[in-house]
Amino acid sequence: MRILGQMVFYALFVVVVGVFSAWPVLRVLGNDEAIVSVSFSLAGERIGTCRKFTQEELNELAPNMRRPADCPRERHPVRVEISANKKILYSATLPPSGLWSDGESIAYQRIVIAAGEYDLSMNLDNTGSDSTFRYSQSAHVTIAPGRNFVIRFDQLSKRFVFE
């Protein structure tokens, strides 16, 4: 009888372990949905140009600190805006990384959208402008259900690319 009781206990234990090891099923995305992933890293322009030190300024600096010009390290944030069928899908102002704000701006965003055809409009600016975009691009795409549609910004060609 005790053995039987122990067997019941062990059975209950492994049932709990077995069941919650893979159930309930997690529904991450609807059947007619897809993901648009925006992911890239891009450095903004420096916030200013180098300025040559005057002789007086150089004289005031310690000998080991003297250099010909003062070049600011900080960069502008990168502003990005992606619209699908004229609706804003993703809009962000990405600050530069690093303690001195001199690193690249990082974009990463996953957006759930309904599968279908879209007119994408992608704009990006890294010059610090509030009103205009340096890079603009449009595309007509078809996004299938369950697709992970990745939008990147290629630093070499300075264009948005899809994967």
């Binding site: 122990q6 077995g18 991450v28 897809a34």
Partner: protein
């Protein structure tokens, strides 16, 4: 709030414990062995993991296929090993969480126990990443989901530059080096820290139980094997980074917080995890604190016999060279920070004898909250109801509800910090000096004791297998140790007392020499 949580937890464990104590031997119930069962599951994970490692390919293209081979072609061994690896890992989470809940509910995390409590927390923070990195290595759809969600969590930590999650957006970005890194973390890095963490967790515990009883081990292993055969662990579809994960069979033991990353945000999930961790770590110092005075040594009466140091479950007594010039080689020194004021040392002290008359009753080691002298006075002044044939004196450890029931029924009850606090000479004293006809000792059974070993040591002394022994002139039938008889539920105490009275009456009628 904490008291309410503890009370609820205790009630829950008692409900679980009741049927278990009917089918498992005392001390062999899984609820009594949660810590050692967790270590046992670690062993299963280790052994099965070594087998998996032999066949595992640490590459983007090879990882999934190598596990498919193990699961399907080599199902009779590799498949079983894989299932054991997975289910033992899941079972580990169950036992670890129950272990934490039990120690908290029974208030075994304060005072000197803070160290084991606090050092247990990093173990959790190692076990979860171990399981999660294990899921990455399978490189199926679950791995894809786990990798992206874990990376999003990591990206929320402001010390990292760049986006880790960006590495899992297309197959062109992912390289074999990722699997090398994961394999390093899963197979070497985290396990080494885990082993060190377990050692640290047990560092301050005297006589830690790290192996469950063999019957429990074999039963558990057999059950795991049956589960592995009936419901073998399998991969989901191979990870395809160009496709978004639509639905997955989530392992809720390890990945229960992951859905929250999408529902809330990585930042909020971190806030929750860090908050819960902080609360758990701070718990030993949160009210209601109950620091009692530690045991004190009286060198005049301490002969350095070491019994107290041997019996202390918390290693709170050091034996050091004699400092008072007496001819004994050692003296006992209480480490106040480690002492939980259970009084088990007093129960082990041969100088704690109530028969002493020539000098004051001051033993070599004593508990200020309930001194040996006070305990003797309580025995002498115990009052009994007149309507019973024999007078039964009950010793009850604090917090045991049997004592309250008996007290309200008019029985004589003396509370002690722990059952192990009672030296056997006190039982002898109560019976041989006529202060009681029979004695009931009630301690919490099946691991419910606030302290460790106290009830066991007392039982062994009464059975005369542990020093100091109960003297032979005392008939054992006059002493009932309630926690040793698993069939006695607290509600049946009055019936049991009647039985004990009958037994005591019979012993008295036929003489003690029988």
């Amino acid at each position: 709030m904490l008291s309410l949580l503890q009370k609820t937890g205790r009630a829950g464990f008692k409900i679980l414990q009741r049927p278990m104590s009917r089918v498992f031997s005392p001390g062999h119930s899984p609820l009594d062995q949660l810590g050692s069962l967790s270590i046992f599951f670690c062993w299963i994970v280790l052994v099965s993991g070594i087998w998996l490692l032999i066949f595992f390919h640490t590459s983007v293209s090879g990882a999934f296929e190598s596990l498919e081979y193990l699961t399907h072609q080599q199902w009779y061994l590799g498949g079983i090993m894989r299932s054991l690896h997975r289910y033992a890992s899941d079972a580990l989470i169950v036992t670890v969480l129950l272990h934490i809940a039990k120690e908290f509910s029974f208030d075994r995390y304060r005072q000197s126990r803070w160290f084991s409590w606090v050092t247990g927390m990093p173990l959790i923070w190692m076990i979860f990443p171990l399981g999660i990195t294990g899921y990455w290595l399978v490189w199926d759809e679950l791995a894809h989901y786990t990798a992206i969600t874990s990376a999003e969590l990591m990206d929320a930590i402001p010390i990292f530059t760049g986006s880790m999650a960006a590495n899992f957006l297309s197959d062109s970005v992912l390289s074999d080096r990722f699997f090398t890194l994961m394999a390093f973390l899963h197979l070497i890095g985290l396990p080494i820290f885990l082993v060190f963490g377990i050692w640290l967790h047990l560092f301050r515990i005297s006589r830690p139980v790290i192996s469950p009883p063999r019957t429990l081990m074999s039963g558990t292993l057999l059950a795991m094997l049956v589960l592995a055969l009936v419901f073998p662990a399998e991969s989901q579809d191979k990870a395809n980074l160009s496709q978004a994960t639509q639905s997955i069979n989530l392992d809720w033991f390890y990945l229960h917080t992951y859905p929250l990353v999408r529902a809330w945000s990585p930042g909020w999930v971190w806030t929750m995890l860090v908050g819960i961790t902080g609360l758990i770590v701070m718990a030993p110092w949160l009210p209601p604190g109950r620091k009692q005075e530690p045991a004190i040594v009286d060198l005049e009466n301490c002969n350095g016999c070491r019994r107290c140091a041997d019996d202390c479950p918390y290693g709170a007594i050091d034996m050091r060279p004699r400092s008072d010039g007496k001819s004994y080689t050692e003296e006992a020194v209480v480490v106040a920070d480690l002492c939980v004021s259970c009084g088990i040392c007093v129960g082990a002290c041969p100088t704690a004898s109530p028969f002493r008359t020539r000098s004051d009753l001051v033993p070599g080691i004593d508990l200020p909250a309930l001194s040996a002298a006070t305990l003797r006075e309580k025995i002498k002044s115990a009052s009994y109801k007149d309507d019973h044939t024999s007078r039964i004196l009950t010793f009850c450890c604090e917090g045991n509800r049997v004592g309250k029931q008996l007290q309200s029924a008019g029985e004589a009850v003396i509370y002690v910090a722990c059952m192990g606090q009672i030296p056997p000479s006190y039982l002898d004293y109560a019976l041989s000096r006529g202060y009681a006809d029979g004695i009931v000792l009630t301690a919490c059974a099946d691991g419910g004791c606030r302290f460790r070993f106290g009830a066991d040591w007392t039982a062994q002394r009464v059975m005369r297998t542990r020093d100091p022994h109960l003297r032979k002139r005392i008939d054992n039938r006059k002493i009932a140790m309630i926690w040793r008889d698993k069939n006695i539920a607290p509600q049946q105490m009055s019936r049991h007392l009647q039985k004990l009275r009958a037994s005591v009456d019979s012993v008295v009628r036929h003489g003690d020499a029988e």
